[in-house]
């Protein structure tokens, strides 16, 4: 591998890397920092980069640089496919590595945005990643042509082998890479027509599976460095509360404990030789908190506030056409319903963690993050050093789901601890309890919907009031535009390419009364599309029931002019056999939506036993992401969306009592279990012409498809999420 280990932190780090390589068998790609030209010091022959995206080694190994983070969603492989498609290299010899955020800053953001969220990894970067591959290909071909002194147009390439047919000569990328790296990059780069793609669209195996399966991959929690100490932390469980006092003597007399430190104004950490010693000493230490103004807040008190918002005069409009209020007032019949959605924690399998080393001159952080640049910025701010004197080494994530993207609170904490122990690497790992107490939670909302109906049961107007939390108000209030959080209206927006309402109603009024309880909101996989799709899709079912129409027929009618919505809806209906009898006791439910640029639909088949026990038998789910880079990986994302989405729909709620989250671990915040997981039959149906995301949209149809099937089975309309212990016995 041409990539050499980082030298930024000196020989100590090099020894660590070599040591851990011996211990763990090898190193992870994440640790290879490719830009340092001290091959001599490494004893490694460093190959020059052809361009920022591509390094070719003499043995034709191609290293493709991936700016976005891998957290299980498969973008690492998909992005490599995009680059390799244009590069025309031998896929069997492709490897990947992360550039660092520090290098991105130093090189004028040559790799663009590092943010890995909003299902944007591929759809936002596909063009420049492909251009990176195409540019490198052109330079490699030019280098061969220069060597042979033939026109470059007479040279062809396949699988890294360059051929000049006229003189029957061949060479390979590895042989000309050094010469190519000295050429000026072309400015005119033409990308392939999608019909000519050979790698994009292929069901290629993931590039990270083997390392993950063998345990070769080192996650943040597993990181070890010479001289490293371990930190456990406790932050005031009441959001907004402060640290008042603690009795460090109790912790300091315990075995292995090195230090007790105040972290910011709301947390205390114990540093010890092992994490468990730090954690148990922290548990034993008396701590006093100033709980602040939110000490009495509760889920019930939030509900009162949100309920008031449902009828509040002031609200911000997200989608309006015609005069919905007048049409509803004049309607001979109405359908009306109120739904609610709870706070939820991301509950990543891997808890928040970071290793930091601070000196007055430099601060380095090793952490799993969805946004290396944001982690870098947080590091610099917490370190009190310019970003150029800081670096972040990204590690693969043991789950992200949005928790590791917007708010890098754990990175700040790790740096603040390391800053109090100059030169010593400190690994901070949150306990599961800390992770549950300090999430950035799925926003809480209530929703009131009203449909006006004419005498024939046609919808004349649709009104929807969402009352509740704004994520942007919590994490980026500067992005609120004239009091409007535009992200609130995901899936409900007027027609457009991103997250639009597909149904054609004669009049529409969708607005938001912002109500922000003190629990910090965050981007939870699927974000606002989750509850919006539940509200919309369940309410469509309610209208169908009230007007005695089949839910599929009503959707088809309202989506008559929305062909992409209709296509995914019809695909699931056809494959599920909607309209044909289901097995005895089995009932079907549908949902369709548009989010993160993609069109998705699901049909759930469920049964409910006489005593109210739910069994989800089968899910058919379709996605039209425009272009499907790796259909196998998209299928995995669709399936995973039901693991995550159904757990949330059925079981997960973070309740607040005395200002703090009550759930502490997976015993009282449980995910879906193996036996509860239905068979998922994914349909990947790219219609071309646009780039949609796949990591999030399908989550949004998981819950409503099942809830609608529950109604079909029992006549019970579940309007408050999660289903939890609400009785499903037949009404």
């Amino acid at each position: 591998m041409s990539a050499v280990e980082s030298t930024v932190s000196g020989a100590g780090r090099r020894r660590f890397l070599k040591g851990s390589a011996a211990a763990a068998g090898s190193l992870v790609v994440s640790f290879h920092i490719p830009f340092v030209r001290d091959a001599e010091a490494q004893g490694v022959a460093a190959a020059p980069e052809v361009n920022a995206w591509v390094v070719v080694q003499p043995d034709d190994t191609v290293i493709i640089r991936i700016a976005r983070s891998e957290m299980g969603q498969g973008s690492l492989t998909g992005l490599a496919q995009l680059c390799a498609e244009e590069l025309e290299c031998n896929w069997a010899k492709v490897r990947t590595e992360y550039p660092t955020p520090g290098q991105n800053l130093a090189r004028n953001r040559v790799w663009g945005n590092f943010s890995t969220g909003g299902s944007r990894g591929i759809r936002e970067s596909n063009e420049y990643v492909r251009k990176g591959g195409a540019t490198a290909r052109m330079m490699l071909l030019q280098a061969a042509a220069d060597e042979w002194k033939v026109p470059v147009a007479e040279c062809t390439v396949a699988d890294s082998v360059i051929t000049h047919a006229g003189s029957q000569r061949t060479t390979s990328y590895g042989k000309v890479a050094a010469a190519a790296s000295k050429l000026t990059a072309p400015t005119e780069v033409k990308l392939k027509d999608p019909k000519d793609w050979k790698l994009i669209g292929k069901r290629l195996a993931r590039l990270d599976t083997v390392d993950k399966t063998t345990g070769k991959l080192v996650y943040g929690m597993d990181l070890k460095m010479p001289g490293m100490v371990n930190a456990a932390i406790r932050r005031c469980e009441v959001f907004g509360g402060k640290l008042k006092s603690y009795d460090e003597k109790v912790a300091l007399k315990r075995k292995g404990v090195k230090k007790v430190l105040k972290v910011g104004d709301d947390a205390v950490a114990v540093v010890a030789d092992t994490w468990w010693r730090a954690k148990t000493a922290l548990d034993a230490m008396p701590i006093e908190w100033d709980l602040g103004p939110n000490a009495k807040a509760s889920t019930a008190s939030f509900a009162e506030v949100l309920k008031e918002g449902l009828s509040a005069k002031e609200a911000v409009v997200g989608n309006q056409s015609g005069d919905a209020a007048a049409a509803i007032a004049a309607a001979p019949r109405k359908v009306e319903a109120v739904y609610t959605y709870p706070h939820q924690n991301h509950a990543c399998m891997e808890v928040m963690n970071a290793t930091a080393r601070w000196t007055p001159e430099r601060c380095e952080v090793w952490t799993p993050t969805q946004n290396g640049e944001a982690a870098h910025a947080a590091t610099a701010e917490a370190a009190g050093l310019p970003p150029a004197q800081c670096e972040v080494y990204k590690l693969h994530l043991g789950g992200g789901f949005g928790r590791r993207g917007a708010v890098h609170d754990w990175v700040r904490q790790a740096v603040e601890i390391a800053k109090q122990m100059p030169g010593t690497p400190v690994k901070l790992i949150w306990s599961r309890e800390e992770d549950m107490a300090h999430g950035s939670y799925h926003p809480i909302t209530h929703c009131k919907m009203t449909a006006g109906l004419d005498n024939d049961g046609n919808v004349t107007a649709f009104a929807m009031r969402i009352s509740g939390q704004s994520i942007l108000a919590g994490v980026a209030p500067q992005a609120i535009q004239n009091g409007k959080d535009p992200v609130v209206f995901q899936g409900l927006n007027p027609p457009g390419p991103e997250s639009s309402l597909g149904y054609a109603f004669p009049a529409v009024m969708i607005d938001h009364a912002m109500r922000n309880p003190h629990v910090p909101p965050g981007f939870w996989r699927g974000v606002n599309l989750n509850h919006n799709a539940i509200y919309m899709e369940c309410f469509i079912d309610e209208i169908a029931h009230e007007t005695k129409q089949d839910p599929l027929a009503l959707r088809r009618k309202l989506l008559a002019n929305a062909p992409k919505y209709l296509a995914v809806l019809n695909a699931v209906a056809d494959k599920a056999g909607y309209g044909t009898p289901a097995p005895a006791g089995v009932y079907r439910g549908l949902a369709v939506t548009h989010g993160f640029g993609s069109y998705v639909a699901a049909c759930a088949e469920i049964s409910v036993s006489a005593d109210g026990a739910l069994k989800i038998h089968r899910i058919v789910a379709a996605t039209d992401p425009g272009y499907a880079v790796n259909p196998q990986q998209i299928e995995a994302q669709i399936e995973g969306s039901f693991v995550y989405g159904l757990g949330a729909a059925l079981f997960q709620e973070c309740t607040v009592k005395d200002g703090k989250i009550e759930q502490t671990n997976f015993h009282n915040y449980r995910p879906l279990r193996m036996a509860e997981m239905p068979v998922v039959e994914p349909i990947v149906m790219p219609s071309g012409g646009f780039w949609g995301g796949v990591g999030e949209p399908t989550i949004a149809v998981a819950a409503p498809a099942v809830l609608n099937a529950i109604f079909a089975a029992t006549g019970k309309r579940i309007r408050n999420l999660p289903v939890g212990d609400q009785s499903l016995k037949k009404a």
């Binding site: 361009n51 920022a52 995206w53 800053l105 090189r107 004028n108 953001r109 040559v110 790799w111 663009g112 945005n113 943010s115 890995t116 969220g117 909003g118 944007r120 936002e124 970067s125 063009e127 420049y128 251009k131 990176g132 540019t135 050429l183 000026t184 990059a185 072309p186 400015t187 780069v189 969805q370 946004n371 640049e373 944001a374 870098h376 910025a377 947080a378 610099a380 701010e381 310019p386 970003p387 949005g402 993207g405 917007a406 890098h408 994520i471 942007l472 994490v475 980026a476 500067q478 992005a479 992200v487 995901q490 927006n493 991103e498 997250s499 981007f523 974000v527 599309l529 989010g595 999030e696």
Partner: protein, 154 residues
């Protein structure tokens, strides 16, 4: 995050990838403030020629949270009766309020340095301008990346 910004990022990154070996050309494009920003400066300076240099706008090039970002604008000046800084101002490209700060100074100000905290709505260009007592105008343009939340999908 508007689609305009997205396009800008795409274009910027794409251009960056291609023009890696042409750093001079790329740097030049970055140094030219957008027309709107130039118009704001022009209105403030009443059309006077503004040269780059002498002023230093100190702000982190990478910001995690745009809510409160420290800035310092300074000019190396003796601040004597005959050689001093008369005014300092700063404008931005993408905040709702483009006109961030205007400061009038004189010899008795002691030093030509102002610090404050500002809110940054998005990644953008900032320009600080200063007029010296000899009537000349000077400026410093800085690109700031605000690493906004990951999952914004509008």
């Amino acid at each position: 995050m508007t689609s305009g910004r997205r396009r800008l990022l795409l274009a910027g990154a794409g251009a960056g990838a291609v023009s890696l070996l042409r750093p001079v050309a790329h740097a030049q494009t970055l140094l030219s403030p957008p027309d709107e920003l130039a118009a704001l400066v022009k209105a403030y300076t009443q059309g006077a020629v503004v040269l780059p240099g002498k002023v230093k706008l100190d702000i982190s090039p990478l910001v995690d949270n745009g809510n409160s970002v420290p800035i310092t604008i300074s000019v190396a000046s003796p601040m004597s009766a005959t050689d001093y800084v008369k005014s300092i101002a700063m404008f931005n490209e993408k905040n709702p309020q483009r006109d961030v700060i205007r400061v009038l100074l004189g010899p008795r100000s002691g030093k030509a340095s102002v610090s404050t905290r500002i809110r940054l709505a998005n990644s953008q260009k900032l320009i600080a301008v200063a007029q010296l007592s000899d009537g000349t105008w000077w400026s410093h343009t800085v690109d700031v990346l605000v690493t906004l939340a990951a999952c914004i999908d509008i």
